[in-house]
Every structure is written in C-alpha cells, then in structure tokens.
Amino acid sequence: MEEVLLEVRGVSLAFGGVRALTEVSFDVRSHEVRAIIGPNGAGKSSLLNVLNGVYHPQQGTIRFGAREFRDMDPHRAAALGIARTFQNIALFKGMTVLDNIMTGRNLKMRCNFLQQALWLGPARREELRHRRAAEEIIDFLEIQHIRRTPVGRLPYGLQKRVELGRALAAEPRLLLLDEPMAGMNLEEKRDMCRFVLDVNDQFGTAIVLIEHDMGVVMDISDRVVVLDYGRKIADDVPDQIKKSQAVIDAYLGVAH
C-alpha cells in the first residue's frame, strides 16, 4: 500500500448560487493513475481547478504530502509539484513547441533577468541545461520533427501532446489531465495512453485524469472516482465501478 500523496476532504465549491461541488472527499496515492469520471457538468473540471488553485472552494481542505491547505493558489500548487493540462488546450499559441516546454520549467530556473539580459555565464549555462531537459521530453513524446514549429500551427492531437510535454517539463509529483484524449482518433488515443502510462511508470508520477472514454479509463486507471451533480457517488477500482448501480444510473440519467 503506497502512501497517500494528495487528500481532499469535504470540498464544496459554488459560483454565486450555483453549487459546483458538494462535500467531495477523495485521495490520490503516489504512483497511481486515478480517474475522475461523471456525466457532463458533474463538476470534474471544477475539481481539478480546485486541486491546482484556479478555483477556491468555500469549504474543505486539501492535503498535499505533509502539508494541509484551506485552498490552493496556482503558483503554490505548481511549486508543490502539481502540473496539469487543460480540457480545451491552453498552450502558448505564439511560441514554438520547444519554448512551450521550456516555459514549463520556469520554476526550476534561478537566474534573474539581469543575468539573462547580459547573457552571463550562469544564465547561459542554466538555459542550456534546461534545453537538454526539454529535449529529453521532446524525445520522450516523439515530437522531434515539430520542435521549432509554433504550436498554433499544429494539428489538435499534437497540441495535446505538446501540452502534456509542458506539464511534464515541471517534473511534477502529481499530474492532472483534463480529458487528455478528447477529440482524438483511435491511433492518437493509443499513443496518448502509452505516454500517460510511460510517464506514470518512468517517472513514478501520480496521475489524475478526467476522461469520457470508458474503455480508456478502465484500461489505464488504478482507481476511479465518479462524480454526479457535484457529489461523489462512487470511488473504487475499475471492475467494481463497472458493476456499481449508482454509476450506471448516473450515466443513464435516472432522476434524482
């Protein structure tokens, strides 16, 4: 039994009157692949946004590693080692693939802007060191051929891959993937699954992913959380989830 990396307790989130999340609690163990599923508008993305501090819940606590927080803020989350990708790609469109990935390493860079402006030894060396790290990610994701292409010009599937790369660049302990395979064709999905598993395996990164493709979810995740109308209705290993009546109802949309 691996130790728990992230623990969410009784998180509730509302926008104005609208309740997005109600009393949600769940945990993520280090090195596991954790899936969050649920019908549209079940609050999956909101949950991720709470985890890395884009939204601030009204109630509940988030424990990451040894530290406990009322809520996160994006910068702190990043500093703690939480990286993520977005449902509708949020890459830096004007920048090349390489620059996007390099940007993912910003927290690891120490030199100040003066050193950079004067291109002093430390700044230069730091830049080159991180270039190598970025190249390793490019190699890992097999995107050498588009290294210098502005991401705006890339097809959707590749953009998703680059975004994963940007998240990996931060060498996160916890990786949040918001529908990493949405809108992909079979082949792209297969690749993406491979990459997600390789990441989990190679770097031991814990992964939380939202995904609609049940096949994928059941294949690659160790445990699954099911949300419906902002509440957790199930939390178990895939095989159990498949059987769970509550889940089936939720998906068939049985009246509440």
Binding site: R131, R132, E135, E136, I138, D139, F140, Q144, H145, R147, E187, D198, D201, Q202
Partner: protein, 665 residues
C-alpha cells in the same frame, strides 16, 4: 583537396605497412591514436549532433569487448546486431571483432519470423538490440531459438518491467566491461593483436530473391582490401562525411558506414529518425553518398512534385534552367569544353536553381555519389549529374564485398556500371553469365558447402548469376539475372529485368513484372507510382478513393499504355531485344509489398512467387479477354485488412516493327 590527398597518403602508406593493420579493430585503434580528437560518429539525438570522437568510440568498443568476454563471448562466436544506424550497433560490431567473434547484423525492419533462420543456423547466443521493438521480436522467437542466451538493449525505454533473465541494458554491460577492463587492462588489446586478416570479419545474410537466406562469410582482408582500393581511387580521407540511413545489415550500407570509415577515418552520421532523414541530410551535407536508384528516384519525384506547387516564376526558372542543364550540365561536370554562352547560362542556372536545389537536397558538398544494386534510369541519372552532382554507378554484391566495378570520374554512363576496379578479373560463360575473381570475394556460405561450391569454383571464380557483357570502352553492362534471361516460344531473347527496368524508369510506373519465358509474347503487371500518378490525376481532377481505385482508371491505363509504347519503341531499336516488346499489360490492384513476400527486403520483385500468387492474372494476360477477376487480401492505410474483389482491366500496348521504331522515335 589537399586534405583528401594527405588522407589518401596515410591510407596508402598504411596499406603498404601491410600486415600490421589487417583487421578492423587494429584500424580503429590506429585512428584512436592518429586522429583521436576527430569525429568518428555523429548521431542526431536530443536535437543536436552528439559527436563521438575516434578515441571515445575506441574506448566504448574496448569496454564492450571486455564486457562481452566477461559475459562468456568467445573467439569464433556470433553476435547478432539488430537496429537502425546507431553508434552502439557499430561499436558492437567492432567489439565482437576485437574478440575474434563474428558480428551478424540483421535487418531491423524484418519481422520476427525472418530472424529465426540466421539465429538458428549460426546458433547465435548473444544479441545486441536497439530498443523495445527489437527486443520484443527476439523474445517472441526465443522458443525457436534456444541458443539465444543474452539480449543486450541500447534504449531502455519501456523495458523496465521486462524481467526475462536474458535481458541486460547496454549501460549495465558497459559498467561490467569497464570493471573487468580495470581488473585486467591489457586483455582486449591482446585479443585484438591475436586477430588476423584471414579471420572472418562479419557475416551478412542475403535476403535472397528465392529460397532460404544464405549467410555470406567475409574476411577482414576481403572487406579492408576492397574498401582500401576504392578509397585510394576516390581519394577518400578523414575529412569526408557519410550519412548512414540504410539498414546496417545491408552490406551496401555497412561497407560505407563501417568498413570504409575504418580504413580511411572519415566520419559517419546517423539521422535522428526516419521522418527527419531529409532534414538531417541537409544539416550534415555529406561529401560521399551511396543510395540505391529508388532513393534517387523518390528524391526526384519529390522535387518535381514540390516544383509543381511553386509559383509561375519559379516553375519557369526551373523548367528553363533544367533544360540548360540537360544540354550542357553533364559535359561541364566531366570538364569537357562547351561554348562560352552556355557556360554563362549554366553559371546563372547554378546560382538560381542548381545550387539551391543541391542545397535543399543536402547534396551541396557531395564529391562522390554512388548508386548501384539495380539499374538506374537514364533521365534519373542525368538529372543528378546535370545538377553538378558527381553521381556514378558501381557494381557488386555481398559476395564480392561490393566493389567489383566502379565508374571513374568523367566516365559515368547510365547503362553501364563501369570498368573493373583494380584487382578484379571478369569473364563470361557462353550463356553470358558473369564470373568474377577478386581479393574481395567471400570465404563461403555459412554451413552451406553445396551452395558455396555451386557459387565459387576451384580457381576462385564466383558465379554472379548476372548476365551481361563488356562494351567497347571496357565498361561492364548488365542485362539481367542469368537464370531469368530466357527465350520466348520462338526463341528470341527475353530479359525480364531489363524490360522491367525500362518500364520502371517512367516516373508513373513504380514496379513492373514481365512474363514471357517460353510464351509467344511478353506481357506485364504494373504498379503505378502513387505520388506521381495521384498528382497527375489531381491536375486532371480525376476523383479516386485510393490506390486500388486510381489504378483501375481508364485514363491511368492510357497513361501507362503510352509509357509502354515508348519503351517498346526503344526496344525495337535494339536488335537482339526487338522481339521482346510488351504486348499486353494490367495494373495490379495493390502495391507490391515486402511484407507480403512479393518483394525482397531490398525491394527486388520475386517474379516466380508472383507468377504463382497471381496465376489467374497471368492466364488472363495470355487469354484474349478484356478483364480478369481478382479476389485478394488487401491491407488498407489504417492497417485493417479486407478482401478486395474486382475485375482488373487488361489492355494491349502499341508495339513497333524495328523499322517503324525509327519513325516513332
């Protein structure tokens, strides 16, 4: 030039030095001393050209060798190497040789099944695989190959959870090696010193157009001698650069990316990946280049296709100056005199077209470019030469350590393969089969004395199996495989390969298979070139849903028909071949594919195999029906397979009487 010359001087002096440098490991160690800081291998990895100097390379080889022997690898044992062009693979080859072992490079794109025979026949116990893909294949065939004890892998990606006892990563192996090297330092060098030129250097399995593959055993002496002679002839030196992009298991790659660099000390470069070869070639700009005709053809097709999309001005410039080049380019390349105006024109052309073109093709610095293995089309050949690229033909095979004939500078012709290189003797049997005697000849076919005896007689003459003759200015001219040179029913000479090549020289035709031996006339299968024809179709906005559909278009049939008619016109002009013009043809519903056994790994057509597989089609050709029904498994782009069933059209082709040909031409 100077540096080439000095390079050449060193080589020759060394070769006169004789015995001392008679094996590849010895050569390597010499380079490590003489030019230790110069690049031996570059590999595009992680975005830049990672460079291994000769010293680093030698150290790596030493460590690997030490490790292998620590692993129990002994003199005379075989080491299988499966992978793309990677420094580790070449280091592995040399490491095996250091210990007096025999490297056996296998095709990395072969399916697992094809690896069984070599491994079994040589009872191979050690294998060095590039990555997970290759490892998986080896594990798959493990049951059939109990001899295989150790599998080392270079790239650990995805392999961490493999727990087979046979597996070990190269890192680990190298540690092991460095460890044992420190324990007894002199060991590897002693082993190297034990090596003799007469030892076996490597074994290459010929894919063989028919039957089981044969393991061709080549000695250090054979490979080094041939590499040496040609290196001197072409003044190769340490400043030359080669891009290694063909399978290292093919001697046609291996001789240029292992044997010759070992002799001359030039640098070889390994591309980042399949998709990036073109780009990598441009970055590296090799000075010495070898590729089979199909590569040059693919390049040319790409050029023409891309020029189609260019703006009017560029298209005009291209058309106009390629015209000029066609007229005078080759003559200029051969340094013959041409009038001043043309020289000016060519100069301008070189500024706006040829130069840039060489640049985008990455051939700006090419000093010597070879092609061989198959015949090359005259247009294709002259295209590159007229651009100012010194493209020449060579003739040879695995059994001859490649170099048998090489065209000297200024004597390049598309229909010959040049005179014999020093040390080689040629003669012909009454049936026009070519026999060769050369220091580069192979020792034997591994564990196959019958085949060896059949191929090499007591006086050491090797039966090439090729039919041809030496023309008036001493250049060898190959018509076809001797066994394939047959006769039609009426006894006229029938040289299928020759005909097929004639057809393949048309940009629209990718593959052709002709039949006729013992029949009354010649007929042909044709594969259209998807790139060229689809482009052609788009311009006439022909609608089609894929290869199979496009192939059956009447317009396409007409197009191919014209090509064949032209070929016939040429044939009509060659007395002994006029009788073998092509009368009927059909376009196949699928592209011939090595994975289906229709082509060899080197993409030679397996005519007999095809004749059986598509028997009904052949009958159709020789019947007088207009269509023939076919039902076959086809593999679609997305990898699915399905059954294709349709009627293939059969068409007659215009043929000429020798007289009529004149007017047609």
């Amino acid at each position: 030039m100077g540096s080439y010359f000095t390079g050449f001087m060193q080589e020759s002096s060394r070769s006169r030095g004789g015995g001392t440098l008679d094996t590849f490991p010895k050569l390597l160690m010499r380079h490590a001393q003489e030019r230790g800081a110069r690049p031996a291998i570059r590999e595009k990895d992680l975005g830049i050209w990672q460079t291994w100097t000769w010293r680093q390379f030698a150290d790596e080889v030493r460590a690997l060798a030490a490790a292998l022997s620590a692993e129990g690898f002994r003199r005379g044992e075989h080491l299988a190497l499966i992978g793309d062009n990677r420094p580790r693979i070449y280091a592995g080859i040399c490491a095996a040789q250091c210990l007096g072992g025999i490297p056996v490079p296998l095709y990395q794109d072969a399916v697992a099944g094809e690896m069984v025979f070599p491994i079994q026949s040589a009872e191979i116990a050690y294998a060095l695989a590039e990555d997970q893909e290759q490892v998986d294949k080896l594990l798959e065939i493990l049951p059939q190959c109990p001899s295989l004890r150790r599998i080392y892998y270079d790239d650990a990606r995805g392999l961490r959870h493999y727990d087979q006892p046979q597996l070990m990563s190269c890192e680990k192996l190298l540690e092991l090696g460095r460890g044992s090297a420190t324990r007894n330092p002199g060991f590897v060098d002693e082993e190297i010193a034990k090596g003799r030129g007469s030892d076996t250097a490597a074994m290459f399995f010929t894919s063989g157009t028919t039957g089981v593959p044969k393991g061709v055993v080549l000695t250090h002496h054979a490979l080094i001698d041939r590499s040496q002679v040609v290196a001197e002839m072409e003044k190769l030196g340490q400043d030359d650069v080669v891009l290694a992009f063909m399978p290292p298991a093919w001697i046609g790659q291996n001789i240029f990316s292992y044997a010759q660099p070992m002799v001359t000390g030039y640098c070889i470069c390994c591309p980042e990946s399949g998709e990036t070869v073109v780009n990598d070639m441009r970055e590296i700009a090799p000075t010495y280049y070898f590729a089979p005709p199909r590569v040059f053809e693919a390049l040319l097709t790409q050029v023409s296709v891309r020029m189609e999309d260019a703006g009017a001005l560029k298209r005009w410039l291209y058309k106009h100056f390629m015209g000029v080049a066609k007229r005078v380019g080759t003559r200029i390349l051969e340094g013959r005199r041409i009038n001043f105006l043309d020289r000016i024109k060519y100069g301008v052309g070189d500024l706006v077209v040829y130069g840039p073109l060489r640049n985008v093709l990455g051939m700006s610095k090419v000093r010597i470019a070879y092609t061989g293995g198959e015949a090359i089309g005259p247009d294709l050949f002259s295209f590159y030469r007229s651009l100012g690229i010194n493209l020449k033909q060579l003739y040879g095979s695995t059994e001859t350590s490649v170099f048998v004939c090489v065209q000297p500078d200024g004597q390049a012709k598309s229909d010959t393969v040049g005179p014999a290189v020093p040390g080689v003797e040629l003669k012909f049997t009454p049936e026009r089969e070519l026999l060769i005697r050369s220091p580069g000849l192979f020792k034997e076919y591994y564990k196959n004395p019958d085949a060896t005896r059949e191929a090499k007689d007591a006086e050491g003459w090797f039966r090439t199996g090729d039919a041809g003759y030496v023309d008036h200015d001493g250049h060898l001219r190959i018509i076809d495989r001797a066994k394939d040179v047959g006769k039609l029913a009426d006894g006229t000479l029938f040289a299928p390969k020759y005909l097929e090549n004639k057809l393949k020289f048309f940009p629209y035709i990718k593959e052709a298979v002709v039949f006729g031996a013992g029949r009354d006339r010649v007929c042909a299968f044709v594969n259209i070139d998807m790139d060229a024809v689809s482009n052609w179709a788009e311009k006439r906005n022909l609608a089609y849903s894929g290869y199979t559909d496009l192939a059956q278009h009447d317009a396409v049939y007409a197009l191919v028909g014209d090509c064949i008619a032209q070929a016939n016109a040429d044939l009509a002009r060659e007395p002994e071949l006029a009788g073998s013009q092509i009368h009927r043809f059909l376009i196949l519903h699928k592209e011939l594919d090595a994975d289906d056994g229709e082509l060899t790994r080197t993409r030679k057509v397996r005519r007999r195999f095809l004749a059986e597989k598509y028997g009904t089609l052949v009958d159709g050709l020789y019947s007088n029906q207009e269509t023939v029904h076919v039902e076959a498994q086809v593999r679609y782009e997305d990898g699915r397979t399905g059954v294709y069933s349709a009627d293939l059209k059969i068409r007659d082709a215009k043929s000429f009487t020798p007289a009529a040909a004149k007017s047609a031409a």
